[in-house]
Amino acid sequence: MISLDKLTKVFGHGDTRTVVLEDLNFSVSQGEIFAIVGPSGAGKSTLAQCINLLERPTSGSVIVNGENLSTLNEEQLRIARRRIGTIFQSDGLFSRRTAAQNVALPLEYLGVTKAEAHHRVAELLDRVGLSGRANFYPHELSGGQRQRVGIARALALRPSVLLADEATSGLDPDSTASIVSLLKELRDDLGLAILFITHEMDTVLKVADSVARLDHGHIVESGALVDLLRNPASTLGQALRPAHIPATLPVNQTQWELVYASAAVPSDWFSTLSVTLGSSISLLGASIETINGSVVGKATIGLDVAQDERVIAAARGLGLVAQRVPSTEVSSTTASSQTEPSSANKVLENAA
């Protein structure tokens, strides 16, 4: 278990003083994957370096299994780092060492004998499905395989906490999926507390149990992934739900957005709602999926019902939260769908 208590990091003094992280509190229990999302410049990398103790927090503490690591001296800190395994972004392998030699690094630093290390390395490579690649150099491996080597290396000293710092960024979707399932497997088998720092929302959906959004050095929102997805008022939940541009609304209809707000939404809610309202429903867009064993989703529909209250009440009866999309916004979303690609490009540019 790892927890942060009022963690604050400040760089510089006087005029150049910049508060990068302010008063962060959260904890990750064993067997939990906790994702931290945020845009570039939110302080994610600094947070990662405070957690694996490469940077000392200005104030506040990092507590692993009940021990406060922030008060340790340089030498104790070096030993404490071994309790936290770190998976780095894809450039973290030593180019002149084979996969096996890369995995052996932490053992080598610790002073483990060659024979002992050899045994442990074989076990670790087998754990990540790379037994046949032990003597390959990083340039001979694919991006996903390189990341598996990084995971095996992070596990070498049997840490209780795993920190994944943009571990899937820059990987293709297949490799990302395989790394995500490996992490989940490791969490279950080894009972690890995993901190997953990323800017990729779709990866969060696949990997996280809980999520926190970091913005300008503050945690602005956090909670269990499913709870956030079921909360129509949550900004983070909204950012996590897959965005879609709805089909064109038929004339004389009003546009509504429905969010799955409970676990008890019947799968035939669409026809039930139609019957209850005595109206036909236009389906303009929807996505429903199972996340961590719970059904979540949202739908955009068109209705020719005049009374808003009736719609909201009928939806609530089915476990859905209905929100009327104002007609101005409807026309503007239709108009903005034209400009969508360019703004998407802008986002990509920012990410790059």
């Binding site: 070096r78 780095f88 973290g92 002149r96 932490p106 150099y137 999926a177």
Partner: protein
């Protein structure tokens, strides 16, 4: 030595009739080549032993380094720069009292080794520093997060990863030292440069001049060849498309692993 400084001075300034007979040239040139190799060999051992720690220190004193210290970095950097900026002939002349203090003489191989080592160390320190800069700084973070001590970080995440670049630089450095040994020849340090200057230049013995040139070209080419091979052998990513690599890139095995 088959020739001495004084005898060469007395027989100097004669015409081609005093040229070294062709069959005597090997006896003159090969021992001289041996001296050059000994001189450069001793110098390079000193250069590597001092230059690698000094280069690593300089790299890590710089901002963002492991033992960041602005004052110390500026001082070391200036000392190295002074060593680099003096032309070798002037460096050699200016440190003669120091050389005499260490070796007790101002001429011969021993006297040449001191200024050559100093110039070589300054040169190599920069080469090591520059090689370490080419290593991704993320590897230092990886090593530290994996529990490495500072010395372990320097050894595994910096020097070891920069080995090909350092070997490439070492090759350049060795060749520069062969050149410096010829300059040192002018203070009677012996070696192939001395033969070239006294026989080829001062006595207009074109044959000796030509032979020394050929020997120097061949020596330098051999050093470069060995250096290039060493770089290639220590670079696993040197663009050798091995059979194994092509197999690894095959889509079938890829998919099998992802499953």
């Amino acid at each position: 030595m088959s020739y001495s400084f004084t005898s060469l001075v007395t027989v100097g300034f004669h015409s081609a009739v005093n040229d070294v007979p062709f069959d005597k040239i090997p006896a003159l040139v090969f021992p001289a080549l041996g001296e050059t190799l000994i001189m450069v060999g001793i110098v390079m051992v000193v250069v590597v032993l001092v230059g690698i720690p000094l280069g690593a220190l300089l790299h890590n004193l710089a901002p963002g380094g492991l033992v960041e210290n602005k004052g110390a970095h500026t001082t070391v950097s200036w000392i190295v720069s002074i060593g680099r900026s003096l032309p070798f002939l002037i460096l050699m002349a200016s440190i003669m009292p120091f050389t005499r203090l260490i070796t007790g003489t101002n001429i011969g191989i021993a006297a040449a080794v001191v200024p050559m080592s100093l110039a070589g160390i300054a040169f190599f320190t920069r080469i090591v520093e520059n090689s370490l800069r080419s290593v991704p700084p993320s590897l230092v973070r990886v090593a530290r997060a994996s529990g490495a001590s500072k010395l372990q970080v320097v050894r595994t995440a910096q020097l070891s990863e920069a080995v090909p670049q350092i070997l490439g630089g070492l090759t350049i450095n060795t060749i520069a030292m062969i050149e410096y040994s010829a300059i040192a020849g002018t203070i009677g340090a012996g070696g192939i440069g001395y033969v070239a200057v006294t026989y080829g230049y001062q006595r207009f013995d074109n044959t000796v001049m030509l032979v020394t040139i050929v020997i120097l070209v061949v020596t330098v080419a051999l050093v470069q060849l060995v250096g290039d091979a060493a770089v290639r052998l220590t670079t696993p990513y040197a663009g050798r498309s091995s059979k194994r690599m092509r197999k690894a890139a095959a889509p079938v095995s890829e998919r099998a692993l992802a499953a």
